[in-house]
Amino acid sequence: MNTVSMPMRLLRLNGQPVQTACATLAELLRAQGYDVSHAMACAVNRQFVPRADWAQRALQPGDEIEVVSPVVGG
């Protein structure tokens, strides 16, 4: 069992501060309780991150993550 503690990172998720040890965007989404099978898209630091890249997208302290889904619109 790996007992090495992971470094904690302070991020912003949809504008709210989040303290996390997650290393990637995919890990963060799962840890935050997102059902990633749903219609949703992500951006990190205002740059679009395609779904196919979520597992590889490493997170850094201070990253600003946006998670959006479809809503009504005019």
Binding site: N14, G15, Q32, G33, Y34, D35, H38, A39, M40, A41, C42, A43, R46, Q47, F48, P50, R51, E66, V67, V68, S69, P70, V71, V72, G73, G74
Partner: protein
């Protein structure tokens, strides 16, 4: 809600179906685009779409909280309607924000169509022409079919055309006002100066006759949301708008008469009874 049989449409409206609108690779029989916000219930939106035989629906993206699941049901209902989806970038205040949101929309909605909105003033929700143009150039280069929301300013529209947008969407009046066309001469100028561009009036239409007015000018389509969604009977109002759009389109193609400054009798003057020549003074 009552479902309307398309065969119930008047002959004139049915004839409009042969006058398809080609935009961004699609062939559209309906020239009424409908927004999906502010309806009393999702079922009423669905009924309105059916009643008006709308083929293009606008949608948007907003932040998703993990505990929120309700949006997924709405999204499945929209998908089930089987219409063209036109995602917007509402709420963006810079070109970079709009470009990122457009890329997110392309992945979620599976369409390269984007209704580009870059707002320059929060009070009037007036679009920022510089930000809109900058984003349009980037998005067109990235393969998007851009439907650019703008004012009725001619030069902005010309530059958007030159950027290669799929459609230019001038406002009739500020979003949600229902005021109707505030500057018909400017809209007429846009049509005259951009004869080959797809022009869709977006924002500010409050009643069906507003739609007829701009369609008579030769606009290719209109987009409405609040005027339908906030009507007492949104389903009936959607149908009224569809008929008004068709009426305006048919009238435009029928070449309306030129207005005159003075009266001109339509009934022949020859043989008017009781007429007699007055004696010369």
């Amino acid at each position: 809600m009552q479902q309307h049989d398309p065969t119930e449409l008047p002959q004139a409206a049915a004839a409009a179906q042969s006058d398809a609108l080609h935009v961004a690779g699609a062939r559209l029989s309906s020239r009424l685009f409908l927004g999906t916000a502010r309806y009393p219930a999702p079922s009423i939106l669905a009924d309105a779409v059916q009643a008006a035989r709308v083929e293009v629906l606008t949608v948007s993206l907003r932040r998703l909280a993990p505990e929120t699941q309700s949006g997924q049901a709405w999204w499945q209902r929209i998908q089930a309607l089987g219409r063209h989806l036109l995602p917007n970038t509402a709420g963006c205040h810079s070109a970079s924000e709009a470009v990122t949101l457009a890329q997110m929309a392309r992945e979620i909605f599976g369409t390269h169509w984007i209704k580009l909105e870059v707002i320059g003033d929060d009070y009037t929700l007036q679009p920022d022409p510089w930000g809109t143009l900058q984003a349009a150039q980037t998005l067109v280069h990235d393969g998007f079919a851009v439907f650019a929301y703008t004012t009725d300013d001619l030069v902005t529209a010309l530059k958007l055309r030159d950027a290669g947008v799929a459609a230019i969407m001038p406002w009739a009046a500020p979003i949600g006002t229902g005021a109707g066309p505030r500057n018909l001469p400017a809209l007429r100028t846009l049509r005259e100066r951009l004869p080959d561009s797809v022009l869709v009036v977006d924002a500010g239409l409050g009643a069906p006759h507003h739609a007829t007015q701009v369609m008579e000018l030769g606009f290719d389509a209109v987009l409405v949301n609040t005027a339908v969604a906030e009507a007492g009977d949104p389903v009936a109002m959607a149908r009224a708008f569809a008929l008004a759009v068709d009426a305006g389109r048919i009238a435009h193609r029928a070449l309306p008469m030129r207005q005159r400054e003075v009266a001109q009798a339509s009934t022949p003057m020859v043989g008017v009874p009781f007429w007699h020549q007055t004696a010369a003074a």
